[in-house]
């Protein structure tokens, strides 16, 4: 929905842009410091120039740097809290425990029940915290891009969940039992399987992991483009435009502020959705009856 709405705005923006300006592919720094006309946000934002090892599989760019920074702070913060954890918690520890408690009680145990949840809680908690941190980099000044907005990380996370639910399912029911339970759900007239089995196959083996990864990445990409659009427009209105158009900058700045808050909400929501669905898939794999 959001992306569709964005599309119109983008077309309008692109139409406004001179060829000269859009050929500038220096990305973030380009639109931040450049003053040669309006820079429309584009998908090339997500493919910045390499900082090291350009052209190899080890290519390291700004987004990877953002991810490393996010991971570093994530581990640092939680390590500091864990290292000095006490039975009577301080303020920081109380916040961390609230997060852990939220994931455990509100998401995993809610879906799986207390007993079954136990073995998955550590991984799913880590997943939740990681997604929140990587999403949040999208609204943190100077980082300004979500670590999850480049599809690779969401794919790795989704694959991890995918392998996990397949393996616990097969371990519990055996390969044949798992396939039978998932592809030929009982209690259905035989001819229906012609329709149902391909759908179930797509569901279990392709759609679940694919939608997990795509939903997260698409949300973060759209959020980033929205923010860039708002702030680029503000930059343009204030410093490039003349006359009454300058006043429009106030509106775009307010919109940017609003969307920043909205992106924080989306960052938390998407982490919640990702972990919730992961719990559901894991639970389905362990269910006796499909």
């Amino acid at each position: 929905m959001r992306i569709l709405a964005l599309e119109g705005a983008l077309h309008a923006a692109v139409a406004q842009t001179s060829d000269d300006a859009s050929s500038d592919s220096s990305g973030f720094f380009g639109w931040l410091f450049g003053s040669d006309g309006f820079h429309a946000p584009s998908i090339s934002e997500f493919y910045p120039d390499a900082l090291a090892f350009a052209g190899t599989i080890f290519e390291f760019n700004r987004i990877e740097l953002v991810r490393v920074i996010a991971a570093f702070f994530m581990i640092l913060i939680f390590w500091l809290v864990a290292r000095s954890a006490k039975i009577v918690p301080g303020r920081g520890q109380a916040v961390v425990e609230m997060v852990l408690d939220f994931v455990r009680v509100q998401i995993v145990e809610e879906v799986m029940g207390k007993e079954r949840a136990k073995r998955f809680v550590p991984f799913l908690t880590t997943l939740f915290i990681a997604i929140v941190f990587f999403n949040m980099t999208g609204v943190i000044p100077f980082l300004n891009i979500a670590g999850t907005s480049l599809i690779g990380l969401p794919i790795i996370m989704a694959l991890w969940v995918y392998v996990m639910y397949l393996s616990v399912g097969i371990k519990k029911h055996g390969l044949g039992g798992y396939l039978k339970a998932n592809l030929f759900p009982p209690g259905v007239p035989k001819p229906i399987y012609l329709l149902l089995t391909p759908i179930e196959f797509l569901q279990v083996f392709i759609l679940r992991p694919a939608t997990l990864a795509l939903r997260l990445a698409a949300n973060m990409i759209a959020g980033h483009l929205l923010l860039v659009l708002c702030f680029a427009a503000t930059q343009y209105f204030f410093f490039e435009a003349t006359g009454a158009l300058k006043a429009a900058g106030v509106v775009s700045l307010a919109a940017g502020f609003g969307f920043t808050l909205f992106e924080i909400f989306v960052a938390l929501l998407q982490a919640y959705v990702f972990v919730m669905l992961s719990s559901v898939y894991l639970n389905m794999a362990l269910e006796e009856e499909h």
């Binding site: 692109v14 599989i57 991810r67 581990i75 039975i87 852990l100 991984f123 599809i151 794919i155 990409i221």
Partner: protein, 185 residues
């Protein structure tokens, strides 16, 4: 997805990108970063936090069970005290009852004893009186005999001359008798 590809197409210059196809370097770095995070959290950070949470739960549960134990002990003690109190009350009542019964018994016993004693004393006194009376009768009988004999001999001895003498003798006898009785009394 359709709109994403439109955005891709909007990129009129330079390379076109497809945001749903990961670049190899993206997958590589994502894997490295994510594995590091998962290992750090699942192996080190979360167990440490979990340990503290478990310790706290244990502490709280220990406190609760301790309180429950104390409460049970207090209830048992109260029950015991109540039982003891009831027992003590019953015993006190029993003792009072016994004492009362004993007192009644003692009273009636002593009353019986007293009346027996009184009867005995009365009987003794009666016997003594009777004995004294007998003695008095015996001694009176002998004395009256001798007195009469004495009187008769006196009368005979004085040869009964005249009435005056007779009178004097009788008076003298009576005076003697009187003084004898007085002396005896």
């Amino acid at each position: 997805m359709l709109s994403l590809s439109t955005i891709v197409l909007a990129e009129s210059e330079g390379t076109t990108y497809n945001p749903i196809i990961p670049a190899p370097y993206d997958l590589l770095w994502s894997t490295v970063i994510f594995v590091v995070i998962v290992v750090a959290f699942v192996k080190f950070i979360l167990p440490k936090l979990q340990k503290v949470l478990d310790e706290r739960a244990e502490l709280i549960e220990g406190g609760i069970s301790k309180a429950e134990k104390a409460q049970a002990e207090a209830a048992a003690a109260l029950e015991e005290y109540t039982a003891q109190l009831t027992e003590a009350r019953a015993e006190a009542a029993r003792i009072r009852e016994d004492a009362r019964a004993e007192a009644t018994q003692i009273l009636s016993e002593s009353r019986d004893k007293a009346s027996v004693e009184a009867e005995r004393i009365a009987a003794t006194a009666q016997k003594q009186i009777e004995a004294e009376r007998q003695q008095a009768v015996v001694s009176l009988r002998t004395e009256v005999g001798s007195l009469a004999t004495e009187l008769a001999s006196k009368i005979v001895g004085e040869a009964l001359a005249d009435d005056a003498r007779q009178q004097r003798i009788v008076n003298g006898f009576l005076d003697d008798l009187e003084s004898t009785v007085k002396a005896e009394a």
